[in-house]
Subunit: 354 residues, 5 copies
């Protein structure tokens, strides 16, 4: 299955306002979870119907609304109405192929980025879309499918009466993005361990599997780099954004994000270079081996070809072939052959072939 989301023919010319799901369904049922908290209290709740959304807007607590599954158009319309989000924003939310970007709108900030997952079994990466909407007192997060990626953040909210409960939706968004970027670094590390482990297989007899591994990791690394690059650009824009929805005292955290995404980017650059080096070493070894094979073939051939010719000469049936009648003819032939061999060996020694 392709890891790239292809545009469907019928989506060409679609209005940017149409609330249509433009991806591949990865989940059966849309799940809404709300978490409301201030310094004192934390309540968690799974929303059954989209009617539960109404009234939420007025709560003075900070609300984190997490939605797993992007294909529920009715829900999107309700969100648009309740939280006064423009349709073209929610249309982007419903398009998992959307490039990482940040965009301001009248009532908030819209952020989209890719979350990477590493499948240990197949040594392969996959990407899920994450969209965040920062609006008054509320952060809405949209994921393509349910997962435990943000559980550490939920734990921090539940257990610690500190900054994360009181710094607003923008800080919460930062915390989620930080998890995403930390994951980039973490996955780089996992792939990196596997890449560095290949070094040991580079000595001795080279196996075809080694080449396949190098090429496969190269392709995974490219997949990762392709997603890190626009994310880096997005986080840079986020850091420079002048918006009422980002508190000045939280601005420093977005610089932290920049450092982290830069670290992820540089790590992937480093591993890519190591892979290129390994490929070069592999090919050099192969060509050294070919040279060695050809040398041995040539040494053998060049030594034995004249010898075989000589015995051929004395295998001819000429009636008056003098040497075969000599008393020491056979010995004579061996002397000639040994001399020939010595000359050849001296020649190869001079050529430094062995």
């Amino acid at each position: 299955m392709s890891r790239f989301i292809k545009k469907k023919k019928e989506d060409i010319g679609l209005s940017p306002y149409a609330l249509v799901f433009r991806g591949q369904k990865k989940t059966d049922k849309t799940v809404l979870r709300a978490m409301d908290f201030d310094l004192e209290d934390v309540t968690e709740q799974e929303l059954k119907s989209t009617d539960d959304l109404i009234g939420r807007k007025k709560s003075k607590k900070l609300t984190w609304l997490n939605i797993d599954g992007l294909d529920n158009a009715e829900l999107m319309e309700n969100l648009a109405r309740v939280f006064k989000i423009e349709q073209n924003i929610l249309s982007d939310v419903m398009n998992p192929a959307a490039r990482p970007k940040v965009q301001e709108f009248d009532n908030g900030i819209f952020i989209t980025i890719k979350m990477l997952h590493f499948d240990e079994k197949n040594d392969s990466l996959s990407a899920d879309n994450l969209s965040l909407i920062i609006t008054d007192n509320t952060l809405i997060s949209f994921q393509e499918q349910s997962g435990l990626v943000f559980e550490p953040i939920r734990e921090r909210i539940r257990k610690h009466k500190n900054k994360i409960r009181t710094s607003g939706a923008d800080y919460l968004a930062f915390a989620l993005l930080d998890v995403v970027v930390d994951n980039y670094i973490y996955i780089n590390g996992i792939l990196g361990d596997k890449i560095e482990a290949l070094e040991n297989d580079m000595t001795g007899n080279l196996k075809k599997e080694l080449l396949e591994s190098i090429n496969s990791y190269k392709s995974e690394m490219n997949f990762m780099r392709k997603h890190i690059k626009p994310a880096k650009e997005m986080i840079l824009n986020l850091g420079k954004m002048e918006s009422e929805f980002i508190h000045d005292e939280n601005r420093i955290h977005f610089r932290e994000l920049q450092d982290n995404i830069n670290e992820a980017s540089e790590l992937s650059d480093s591993y890519r270079e190591i892979l290129y080096d390994q490929l070069n070493v592999y090919h050099s070894s192969m060509s050294t081996k070919l040279n060695e094979i050809m040398s041995i073939l040539t040494i053998f051939s060049v030594i034995f070809i004249p010898l075989t010719f000589i015995v051929g000469v004395y295998g001819t049936n000429f009636e008056n072939l003098p040497e075969v009648h000599w008393r020491h003819g056979y010995l004579f032939m061996w002397v000639i052959m040994i001399l020939t061999t010595l000359v050849m060996l001296w020649f190869f020694r001079r050529k430094k072939w062995f």
Copy 2:
């Protein structure tokens, strides 16, 4: 036939004001179609004579004038007069080799871009020019030949009483450009599917056709990238343009276009990298195969060359060749040959050649 439009010798030194067709005719007859609409009504009409242009200027409805065929100099002159378009703009319209660009003039905005078509039969891309002129209450679009590319937009106008009917010529231009860029992404996807399908042919016996496919897709991908790059640049300029002909509330849609062209550009980068990887894998496999062939040849030669020499020795006709007269001479020869073979095999085993 070349896919690049070549400059004709006689066009060198031509005035930039001359209304001369500078391309290759792709259509027999110029076709004019007008679509007039406001929130309430939609009327469509094929214009027979260029006289029908007159009077259109004053209609309060929004007019979309679509022209297929660029070689009608008389029509261009009428357009220039009726809509007060500068000649150097229309001269660019008549040059299908013109680079994608956006240019403001006194009475409007001129946009030119390439539409890509994928010919499934030959697996090859071609490019047609599209020019748009946004002027008061009117959008004029020029295509090299007739086609159904914009039919979805016509349908949206006919069926939906919404934004597209009321947001002006700039929004309509955006909708057309969006179709063009969506097509880039769509074609990337088609090519991408074919490229990813090549992976399956990379295992086992490599066929020459595989290499030809890779090289052919590489060349199509380059053709596409060559057209996407200046289009990206143009759309960036369009997004930054300060003009009375672009409504502030439509500005956001041009940012959407930027995201889409970026997505197209990144997709084509990704597929290009995959093609380069496939080429590398192909060449590595070829060189591995050569190594294997040479190993087998060498093993065979090196084992049999000494054996053939030995039987040659005992095929000589020396009168006093002692071994041939021995009772177990023949056996003796076989023992020598088997020992020689075992030494060779041990040697190859140590070299790890099999």
Copy 3:
């Protein structure tokens, strides 16, 4: 002969004000031609002596003074005096190795660029310097040698009573530069046709001449790109220049020039890529062919080497070699040899070598 102009040892440390010719003479005699025109009249005249320059300055008509040959120091001094041009400008005019650039001075604008010529016979490019000086009511153009490149412009002036007669020296300069850049595109097209024609030679038996052609076009394309790059930069600077010698209504034409030089630059990029692709295809084909040759050699060797060994065994002269005395010994040998051959063939089939 080298296509690069080398600095002479004695020119090192020369004052930038010295009016010394710093190139290779390409013409025997300096030729001055003047063309004076306004909307009504056109007069053409070949100037015999540099005295004819005097008085010209006061004419109200627009004057185009074209000079073929750069080595006349006396003429240069007269020009400096009559038209009040700084010596360091004219010193640059006399240096055909000067980089494409645009430079403002007190009484005008100085522009220098390379004109490319394609020699069909040798399939090779050469470059000539063109310098333009825009000053009050006068355009002075300097060419290394006489040619017909600007004849279409002269024709436009002679035949058409329009813009080109009335828009000033800057518009005339634009028209000349436009010819130069159109020539870049035209030559790109000629080379491009030849490059695309190579594709047909890429199938079947590869000739050495094909490789030589690819390498030769690659080198010509590089030569062209080397001159287009700084010209592009110069035209960009020209477009941004704030000068009283460029009329605001002509500014748009210099943007046209930018589009054209960009088209030339992108075309040469495309052809370069095609050449690189052809080289890769050539090398791949060569290596495929080597693989095929080695396979055939190996198949033959590996089949016959054991057979030749077997017949060698029965060619030995051992007295008690049992098989030669058998009744069906000869048949027996053939059975062994045929079995051996079948095993080999099965082996190669499994290896998928044929």
Copy 4:
């Protein structure tokens, strides 16, 4: 052991304020050394307990507090309290994987960079983190482990009553960074000597060890470049920083740092290119050698194959084989064979194979 610090799974989602050590311990015990000085006096002291920190803040002398070991969370908390350093700064100090950067905070400037060490024994580089905090009258430096790198600076402070004692914490930070960057240049030189020494091994018989050396130095050079690049960026930012903690008269020294880091960067570029050149030379030599081997094999084979065929013909046992009964049959065979050989030799000479 990997030279890259990997993110631990449990650190994902950690608050940026948490004072948790995020690296690998390289030291057993945290060591604090204080150096207080003004123009007149210098006192040095090893701090036993973190209580000793209190009161230091008020001293009018300049204090250089050096801390070896980053894993003492309690110490970090005390530093935060005493010197009013934000927790997110100290959290970065405790993360040795942090990218080189400079960051202003309310009470000072935070700088982090990598120190490189060259292990002569294994010809390999390693990197340690260095963090600097410039605050009122105090410079705090944090190292991953103890070392003598900064001893020359201590000596300058002890011995010379000059600028270094009186120019403030920012000048002291400059001096330390200068040592780090000088070390980059010094290590470049060491590696460079080894790389240039490889040239001598490039002539004559190429050893596998040579290739391994080139590849190993290439990888070390990449490791260095990976750390120099972000350090260069950081020093550029430091030079442009507007801060009350950097005295205007010291600003010039940071320009000096830029020159030095640029020199380091360019040196590593140069050596990298030399390594690539060496690789190319190595591969060219290998392929030249293969050509030579194949030529010799072919010359031998092509000369002897027909000769061996001829003697084979006269070794057949046909009853009525005429030549074997000729009087000069044997001589006749030798004449044929010598003629054949001469033709072959002439053929190879024409092919210019020897």
Copy 5:
């Protein structure tokens, strides 16, 4: 001997104010030459003692003080005192490894650049440092060793009563830098001639020396490019510098310098590309030759291997081998062999191997 200046271990941590020579001595004795001139008079003088410096400052003539040899710390201190030059400037003068740069200080401008020398004997480049200090009415130039590079400038001052005598220290600095850059272009030309001469050796039998030449010129070209790049950057900064020590009317000359350094840079780019092309052509030729060798070997082997097998069959000693007793057995064998050969030849013809 290495062409790169390595940092000495003891220089790490050295103060930027220390007047210590940080290079390799290239001259025995420091030589000071003063040239004083105005429009009317020129006097030249070799200064014996550094005391002669005193009083010079007040002269109204323009003074050019040239110093060969950088290791005289006492002289540097005197210069610092007399001309009020900051120590960190003179410390840079004493470091020949300093990167090309321009730096303003209170009493003047400091410029440093590399002078390149081409050693015709060894076809190798070397670099010497040149430092210039522009201060009131005085230009001080520092060279690593004595040479005749600036003799043409001295001649211009002695012989011509013009601009160079009256335009100040900045114009004189420009003249010296112009000589340095002209030298870059001149050396490019010399190397370029040698590179272009290699083309002739590319046809026919390729010698190993050719490859060595290409690689050696490539390395020299890289050495040159490494020094031109930062010089280009420096001259760009010089052109943009706002300083009282650069007269507005001289500013135009620094633009001339920019053009020249750009020309040098582009020339070296061109020659580098030509060298890369030559390398590719060399390798292609080698691989074509290998293909040819292998074809000939294979044709010979494949034709003779079956023939040799056939004669081997009839060389066996089977008692009842029917063919040897046939009347036309020998003829029969030849017919079989000729048919076999014809089949082989037809096969190769079809494969287009000859």
